[in-house]
């Protein structure tokens, strides 16, 4: 099974890759990618059932968080059935599930981040008071002040000169290095899978 899985991964990967370079192979590439989308969707549904199983097990065992698990299961099944029967774009589903629950909770969690980040920045300076921490906090404070909307307009030096120079030249350099590094990492990871060195599907 392990060898068969490795052969499938390498063969499918090479065929999909071939579709990018040989126009005649694009039809196979489209077919394989469509199948991959179907498998990913099925895997997502299996993941949902696994989530229900894990929390049902907690309720069965009388875990101290069983009330929360029950809330999660009820919410999950109700949302799934509602969106499955009425379709996700239905006005009622959008009003209750998306605008009533998902968006407000996401935005509120993001709002919590405002305080958490401020606390984390203060802790960083207290715990690791070195040059890099100082640069990090100073740049963050400077860019934040530079982009703040104030009653009298932009801050003279921050908004018009320092903020664009730091974000479009200095931060750009670092971000470009990180991005190229991430790209090279993804390239290497892809190549390792295609060469059969890494087998994250359980074949290692």
């Amino acid at each position: 099974m392990r060898i068969l899985a490795a052969i499938v991964a390498i063969a499918v990967g090479l065929l999909v890759l071939l579709g990018y370079f040989v126009p005649q192979a694009a039809v196979f590439q489209t077919l394989l990618l469509n199948w991959a989308i179907i498998f990913a969707a099925a895997a997502a549904l299996v993941g949902m059932f696994n989530l229900i199983n894990v929390h049902a097990e907690k309720i069965r065992k009388g875990d101290k968080n069983k009330l929360y698990s029950a809330v999660l299961i009820v919410g999950l099944i109700a949302a799934f059935l509602a969106a499955l029967i009425l379709k996700p774009q239905n006005a009622i589903v959008q009003t209750f599930l998306v605008n009533g629950i998902i968006v407000p909770v996401e935005a509120s969690l993001m709002a919590l981040l405002a305080i958490s980040l401020l606390y984390a920045a203060a802790r960083l300076l207290r715990r690791r008071a070195d040059l890099m921490s100082a640069v990090f906090v100073a740049v963050a404070a400077l860019l934040f002040l530079g982009s703040a909307t104030l009653p009298f307009g932009d801050m003279p030096l921050f908004g018009s000169l320092l903020r664009p120079y730091i974000s479009q030249v200095w931060a750009l350099g670092g971000a470009r290095g990180i991005l190229i590094g991430v790209g090279l990492g993804a390239l290497t990871a892809g190549l390792r899978v295609l060469l059969g060195v890494d087998r994250p599907y359980g074949g290692a």
């Binding site: 490795a6 991964a9 499918v12 090479l14 999909v16 990018y20 077919l31 394989l32 469509n34 991959a36 179907i38 498998f39 969707a41 549904l45 299996v46 949902m48 968080n65 698990s69 009820v74 919410g75 999950l76 949302a79 799934f80 969106a83 499955l84 379709k87 009003t95 009533g100 629950i101 998902i102 407000p104 909770v105 996401e106 509120s108 969690l109 709002a111 981040l113 040059l131 990090f136 906090v137 963050a140 934040f144 982009s147 030249v169 200095w170 931060a171 350099g173 670092g174 470009r176 290095g177 990180i178 190229i180 590094g181 790209g183 090279l184 993804a186 390239l187 990871a189 892809g190 359980g202």
Partner: protein, 230 residues
């Protein structure tokens, strides 16, 4: 405001208060809201996955083949159905091994897409952008300004990449050290990375603060609406 909007607004109002109650510490109200969110979001996403992927790519074509009787056209649907059946076996500990095949299919296709995506979507555009800064024809800024800005950004990119270069020589005492010029360049890279992450932090903080203001504003608007003040 109709009845549906009023009920959805009330749910949104309560959930916002429950999540923001975390400001006074971790508490059951926050946990209930968080668990409810995870459940509802998972259920909604699962339904979206069904309607956006499984239905148009698997169920609808299968139904079409079955109703039209053109079974030879349905041969291409055998593989996805088989794959889905094997993935569903993941639910059983005894049969879970069979799910390796469709997962391997998924990983192989994903690896190829990521490989090409990383090359054409990140590495080449970023390298091109680093080069194009020095292109006098496409730049309105003065030559000196362009050269200095381009040079700083280029040094930043190279130094940041060098920071992630971990080849080192083993010394006699067993410790390891990078080649001296690499070490210096890596130190400069750390400064650029700190600046880049500081800029990202400022952006995320601004977004978080905007979300906080929006939530507080939504609470006030809902109360005003209930009281008939708006």
């Amino acid at each position: 405001m109709n009845l549906f909007d009023l009920i959805a607004g009330a749910i949104s109002f309560l959930l916002t208060l429950m999540i923001l109650s975390y400001f006074v510490g971790d508490n059951p109200l926050f946990k209930i809201a968080a668990y409810l969110f995870v459940g509802v979001a998972s259920g909604y996403v699962a339904a979206v996955v069904f309607w956006q992927a499984l239905y148009p790519k698997l169920f609808a074509p299968t139904a079409q083949v079955l109703f039209s009787g053109a079974y030879n056209e349905g041969l291409l649907l055998v593989v996805p159905w088989l794959g889905v059946a094997l993935i569903l076996m993941k639910g059983s500990p005894r049969l879970a091994g069979a799910s390796q095949i469709p997962l391997a299919f998924l990983v192989g296709a994903g690896a190829a897409v990521i490989l090409v995506g990383a090359l054409t979507g990140t590495i080449l555009p970023q390298v091109n952008a680093a080069i194009n800064v020095f292109d006098f024809r496409n730049n309105d800024a003065g030559a000196f300004e362009m050269l200095t800005s381009g040079a700083v950004a280029l040094v930043g990119a190279v130094a940041s990449l060098t920071y992630f270069h971990f080849n080192a020589r083993r010394k006699a005492d067993g410790s390891t050290q990078r080649f001296a010029p690499i070490e210096w360049l890596a130190w400069i890279g750390r400064v650029f990375i700190a600046i880049a992450l500081g800029a990202v932090f400022a952006g995320v903080y601004a977004a978080a603060l905007t979300a906080f203001i929006e939530r507080v504003s939504s609470l006030v608007i809902f109360v005003k609406t209930l009281l008939g003040m708006s």
